[in-house]
């Protein structure tokens, strides 16, 4: 790529802009002039996030879908003695998640226009810092840098939940923080082991994931991480993978590490919930595909049955639990767990169908579940309750709200022509190839999704308007309609013409799978590593005891 700095600009624009506005505000204060009003702050933040989105479109158009490897790469020494560099670049996977993030942020700011009334300046600054944190993690190609961004985004989120949240916000914020942190620390330890292994093999300190411009040295992805056997126990891929996987599994969240999520969602303000569901959870799944799979391909394949079991648990269990929730937001939170179960399942199918479906489903979930949280927030602003039993017949006073809720609910339960279907279909298709019964059981999650979503719709939207407080409800205003229409745009787009997005994933997903497959082809059964046996492929390790066997023709 040419020496364009577009990627860095997009990444740091929100934070830099936020700092500039903050500085201006302070200077005005020092000069005893009138400080910037909250309205000015709001518009400035909106403009900054919108500009970030506009610039990220330049990344979208400039991205060459046919090329393998990272694009828009920038690399500069940071702590060269320790192999730490500022190293960014994107492939198809990060491109999709990055544009989804920049697209959602202005809408999130708009959605909290009226919702947040105290500490507006701080809140908006945290939002901008959060955006840079998230974008930074998506573009990082240096493990240290990734870790920094990974931790950085916790801080604004912690405050957003803890300050602007609901009644049990402190409990939820601390739970969210500690839960994620304990996972992250495991990752940190494993990260240091990988760093050490790399040094052992190449005699240089390096934390870059791939070779970048200005460094011919082998990168982390070139490190041979011992499979098992002679190596000390914590050097084996299995242990390192488990450490990384635990950190990511908490974020995803994978069953049974999910219980922080309903609490965090219920207590977080609407905007916080949207960012949490749409982007923050994707850090977990992104971590798997960007780090855990290429670094520990053998362990990843070995652990596929475990991941399948946990994702399947997530899909079925979370759907059943979602069904009996009394709080709409909690219901959506549990549905999130089920959806991310699909994402993890597709990723560990290790075929193009499953993995592309998985990445697309990350984006789909961002829009659909984000939209659901927005809608729940809109009714909460009006009635200050989210309990299903307080509603009924809302379609009468709020027809536009009901119509939009209906469309988003359908997207969430995977109706064809809307986004959710494409992702879920490809995931289940891919999974069926390697583990038929897992896919069959997972498909049943689609039935359960219809059950919990439609049961909620029925109790909230339909029936007579029993509660007199619901009679005077005012339908969505222009700002709210704008936000919802904007979110519906990609929901329809992905549903009707998914190839537009899938095309950009082809090369990147193929590359990830190539790494996994070649690594597994080099390795035979656990015990002896580096023994070349071309007959054993990635699929060989995936044969589950429950597999449906196709016999020869008779």
């Amino acid at each position: 790529m040419t020496a364009s700095h577009l990627l860095s600009v997009v990444t740091f624009l929100p934070l830099a802009g936020g700092l500039a506005v903050l500085l201006l505000d302070e200077v005005l204060g020092l000069l005893s002039l009138s400080r910037l009003s909250e309205g000015v702050w709001r518009w400035m933040t909106l403009a900054l996030t919108a500009l970030t989105f506009a610039l990220s479109l330049g990344l979208w158009t400039g991205f060459d879908a046919t090329r393998i490897g990272f694009q828009f790469v920038e690399r500069a020494p940071w702590l060269p003695d320790y192999g730490v560099s500022y190293f960014v670049g994107i492939d198809g996977v990060s491109l999709l998640l990055l544009v989804m993030t920049t697209f959602l942020m202005p809408l999130v700011i708009l959605s909290s226009w009226k919702d947040i009334q105290r500490g507006v300046r701080t809140y908006l600054f945290f939002m901008l810092a959060l955006e840079t944190g998230m974008l930074g993690a998506f573009v990082s190609l240096n493990l240290f840098q990734f870790y920094v961004f990974w931790e950085v985004m916790l801080i604004p989120m912690y405050f957003i939940i803890g300050i602007w949240g609901g009644p049990r916000r402190i409990y939820a914020a601390v739970k969210f923080f500690l839960y994620t942190m304990s996972g992250s620390l495991l990752m940190l330890v494993a990260l240091l082991v990988v760093y050490y292994l790399h040094f052992q093999q190449f005699g240089a300190l390096n934390l870059d994931l791939v070779q970048g411009p200005g460094s011919a040295a082998p990168a982390l992805f070139d490190t041979v991480i011992p499979v098992a056997g002679q190596a000390v126990w914590w050097k084996t891929q299995t242990w390192l993978f488990v450490a990384f996987a635990l950190a990511f599994a908490v974020k995803v969240p994978l069953f049974p590490f999910h219980t922080w999520l309903p609490d965090a969602h219920v207590e977080a303000p609407t905007a916080g919930s949207v960012v949490l569901a749409s982007v923050l959870l994707k850090m977990g799944t992104y971590g798997f595909i960007r780090l855990a799979l290429p670094l520990f391909p053998f362990a990843a394949v070995e652990f596929a049955p475990v991941i399948f079991a946990l994702s399947l648990m997530g899909i079925l269990y979370a759907a059943l639990v979602a069904m009996v929730q009394a709080d709409m937001k909690k219901l959506v939170a549990y549905s999130s767990v089920a959806h991310l179960g699909f994402v993890m399942m597709g990723m560990f199918a290790f075929n193009i169908e499953g993995v592309e479906g998985s990445v697309l489903q990350m984006v789909n979930h961002g829009f659909s579940t984000g939209a659901l949280f927005l809608l729940v927030g809109m009714i909460y602003e009006r009635r200050h309750t989210r309990l299903i039993k307080d509603f009924g017949g809302i379609a009468k006073p709020m027809p536009v709200y009901a119509a939009l809720f209906g469309v988003v609910a359908m997207s969430s339960i995977g109706l064809p022509m809307l986004n959710g279907f494409v992702g879920e279909f490809l995931i289940l298709l891919g999974t069926y190839h390697v583990a038929p019964w897992v896919a069959v059981a997972g498909s049943f999650g689609v039935v359960l999704a219809a059950a919990y979503m439609l049961w909620m719709l029925r109790r909230v939207m339909f029936g007579p308007v029993d509660n007199p407080e619901n009679r005077g409800l005012i339908d969505l205003g222009l700002r709210e309609k704008f936000v919802m229409v904007a979110v519906l745009l990609p929901i329809f787009w992905v549903g009707i013409y998914p190839d537009f997005f899938l095309r950009r994933l082809d090369a990147s997903v193929t590359e990830v799978l190539r790494r996994v497959e070649t690594a597994n082809a080099r390795t035979t059964a656990p015990g002896g590593h580096e023994a070349a046996d071309p007959n054993v492929t990635a699929a060989g390790h995936l044969a589950l005891p429950v597999a449906l066997e196709l016999g020869p023709a008779r």
């Binding site: 839960y179 049974p256 999910h258 219980t259 269990y317 059943l320 639990v321 069904m323 009996v324 169908e353 592309e356 479906g357 017949g393 379609a395 009468k396 027809p399 536009v400 119509a403 939009l404 359908m410 109706l415 064809p416 022509m417 494409v422 279909f425 490809l426 289940l428 298709l429 891919g430 069926y432 190839h433 038929p436 069959v440 498909s443 689609v446 039935v447 219809a450 439609l454 719709l457 029925r458 939207m461 339909f462 029936g463 007579p464 308007v465 229409v485 013409y497 998914p498 190839d499 899938l502 095309r503 994933l505 597999a547 449906l548 066997e549 196709l550 016999g551 020869p552 023709a553 008779r554």
Partner: protein, 679 residues
């Protein structure tokens, strides 16, 4: 038009057939769901009915294009690659061949008539100021989805339509959503259908990967049909926990798809949603829950006829499911009093007939009955709707009787519909039902086919009995209405009546499209069963000649006629001649009557067996015990409490503030590190 290598002709015409109704639905949707600027009444009518009429005319034109003698009767309209990843690729593409041509004609023609009918039917709906337009929006969306379903060139586009019609069914059953019951019925329909859709999805997975195995990864119908023989005879070993049985591959796939068909076409065990779907407005019951959507399962089986022809096991299951459902639903229909409920169970029963035919290899017979049934059942539902309008929204036949005098212009078309469904010659139902019974009788390959035939005949008696019971109790005998209410009964408006006349004409004439060769030979008409000849090239088994002699065929036809007449006479005896008799029978066989009247308690059984336990387990076990109790309470917060307790009891003493102890610990630590380094 360009000829492709595959022998199909490409055209850009087909896309407009589904897209015009979609465009109308989208305009309505944006106006109503977003900007809240409803169209005036006339605008709504013009847009919606116009779109469907245009769609019908294009369909007619496309159909006419197929009739030419030359070349293969296949047209393809390919738009773009819808979903493509790895080996998988599904085109957004439409296929017109004889099967889909018949289907789009039925869908757009009956659909258009019902749109017109709805103008009058929904006119007095003042429950909701925008209800009129909302209704037409959903109706257009439904027409679009149904056309996608039948025109889809591959399984995925078909699935799109499949789920789309399910959505519209949900929206329209719960159209008057302020009533809790309607909303419940809509939800039930969607969820039960989704169980079927689950089978459909799994079927796609199984089929796709098996085809990929032989190097033909595809979901397009014609390509599947070409490659299927390579995989049909494979043996699938089920895992040990399922008994380890060995199944033929075609049977496994066939049963997966048939589960989908069971859901959509309301067969046992998934029929329970259809009777409750009557909560929707009557035009919806006519269009979706009688004429079009519920026949999608039959259409699917015929579309995949190459698959079922290679899967005798699956076909037997289909035939038996169809026959049992036909009988089962007919017995329930005898005891119902709600005019729409009777028709609903009758629909379930008639769909059973279609599956019976398809299971016995008579795909053309199934499609024939599908088409004739679309006409006469739509007629019956629209007629019932006219009665309901005339009675000011009364549906219970217990409060009707003697209406023939009050609304003769509704009564005559209704009577034609009744005769047609009972199968009296020369009405449409006679020919199509007779062909089904004949197919079952001759189907040696299906185990117990004589029994299937017997069930079919018994069901024909019952059909005639419950339909004439309905007709006599509604239109004849002494009225059970108060005189002042009887005077208020009025003939409905023209837009409601005219569609009845058109459908009545088709119920009378449509049977001649499949005029059996037996009579054709008498009259000297070669290839008199023109429908079967038209469909033959695209159905497995082609013309499917049952191989019976003319004499046998005539004897069977007479028997079927006798069955219909027997039912008619029983109904006449019981409900006109000695109306006190049913009450006496009811008393002596109360238990049986109750069992039938309460629909074999199937809803209650499902609720107790599945729904109740599922909700209870989800709430008490999964949510309260495991999630909140075990994971969050014990594991997560337990850890937190443990750490807290540890700090409170032990660690806090380390933070003592005593310099000596800090110093001591520091030295201890240094010694330990140095010791480790020097080891």
């Amino acid at each position: 038009m360009v000829d492709t290598a595959a022998g199909a002709t490409e055209t850009t015409l087909l896309r407009w057939i589904p897209f015009l109704p979609l465009a109308a639905a989208a305009v309505h949707g944006v106006l109503l769901g977003l900007v809240r600027r409803p169209l005036p009444r006339r605008g709504t009518i013009f847009l919606s009915c116009g779109a469907v009429l245009a769609s019908f005319l294009i369909s007619l034109f496309a159909f006419a294009g197929l009739l030419g003698p030359e070349g293969p009767r296949v047209r393809v309209d390919n738009l773009y690659t819808w979903i493509g990843a790895g080996k998988f690729s599904a085109e957004a593409s439409f296929l017109l061949d004889p099967i889909s041509a018949v289907m789009i004609l039925v869908v757009t023609f009956v659909g258009f008539l019902i749109h017109v009918y709805s103008i009058g039917y929904m006119d007095d709906d003042h429950r909701d100021d925008t209800g009129f337009q909302r209704f037409f929006c959903y109706l257009n969306l439904f027409t679009f989805s149904m056309l996608m379903l039948v025109l889809g060139d591959n399984l995925l586009v078909m699935f799109l339509g499949w789920e789309g019609v399910g959505l519209c069914s949900y929206l329209l059953i719960g159209f008057w959503y302020s009533d809790r019951w309607n909303a419940y019925c809509g939800m039930k329909a969607f969820v039960v259908n989704r169980i079927g859709d689950f089978g459909f999805l799994v079927g796609i997975f199984v089929l796709f990967w098996a085809l990929a195995d032989v190097g033909k990864p595809t979901v397009a119908f014609r390509e599947i049909a070409a490659a299927f023989p390579q995989i049909a005879d494979r043996v699938v070993t089920l895992p040990a926990w399922l008994g380890g049985a060995e199944w033929k591959f075609a049977t496994l796939v066939g049963l997966c798809f048939f589960l989908g068909a069971c859901g959509k076409s309301a067969q046992i065990p998934l029929y329970v949603w259809l009777p409750d779907a009557m909560a929707g407005p009557t035009p919806v019951s006519a269009l979706i829950h009688a004429a079009t959507m519920v026949t999608a399962g039959v259409y699917m089986v015929c579309r995949l006829s190459f698959l079922y022809a290679a899967a005798p096991g699956a076909s037997a299951v289909i035939a038996w499911t169809g026959a049992i459902t036909a009988l089962f639903a007919a017995t329930i229909a005898i005891t119902q009093t709600d005019i729409k409920k009777i028709l609903a169970y009758s629909t379930v029963s008639q769909l059973g007939y279609m599956f019976l035919a398809a299971g016995c290899g008579g795909y053309a017979a199934a499609l024939f009955h599908l088409a004739t049934h679309a006409f006469f059942k739509a007629l019956l539902f629209l007629g019932a709707g006219a009665v309901i309008l005339a009675m000011h929204h009364e549906q219970d036949t217990d409060r009707m009787g003697g209406l023939a005098r009050a609304i003769p212009r509704t009564r005559w078309p209704f009577l034609i519909g009744v005769i047609a469904i009972c199968g009296l010659p020369p009405f449409a139902g006679f020919f199509s039902k007779d062909e089904i019974l004949l197919t079952a009788f001759a189907a040696q390959s299906v185990p117990g086919n004589t029994w299937l035939y017997g069930i079919g005949v018994v069901t024909a008696v019952l059909t005639s009995l419950y339909m004439f019971r309905l007709y006599f109790r509604t239109f004849h005998g002494a009225t059970r209405l108060a005189p002042e209410n009887f005077r208020r009964v009025h003939e409905p408006s023209e837009t409601v009546r005219y569609p009845l006349y058109v459908l009545a004409a088709f119920s009378l004439l449509a049977g001649f499209a499949g005029f059996p060769q037996v009579y054709g030979d008498w009259l000297g008409i070669p290839d008199s069963n023109s429908l079967a000849h038209f469909l033959a090239p695209v159905l497995a088994g082609g013309l499917h000649d049952p191989g019976l002699s003319h004499g046998e065929e005539l004897r069977l036809a007479l028997l079927a006629l006798g069955a219909a007449t027997a039912g008619l006479l029983m109904a006449w005896w019981l409900y006109l001649r000695s109306p006190e008799l049913p009450g006496r029978i009811l008393q002596s066989f109360h238990a049986i009557w109750r069992l039938l009247h309460e629909k074999y308690f199937v809803d209650e059984i499902y609720d107790t067996l599945f729904v109740g336990p599922m909700v209870w387990i989800s709430d008490r076990v999964l949510f309260r015990s495991i999630d909140a109790g075990l994971i969050d309470g014990v594991a997560v917060n337990g850890t937190a409490r443990g750490v807290q307790a540890l700090a409170a009891r032990g660690l806090k003493y380390a933070h003592s503030g005593l310099t000596q102890s800090y110093l001591f610990l520091m030295i201890l630590g240094t010694v330990a590190i140095v010791g480790w380094l020097l080891r």
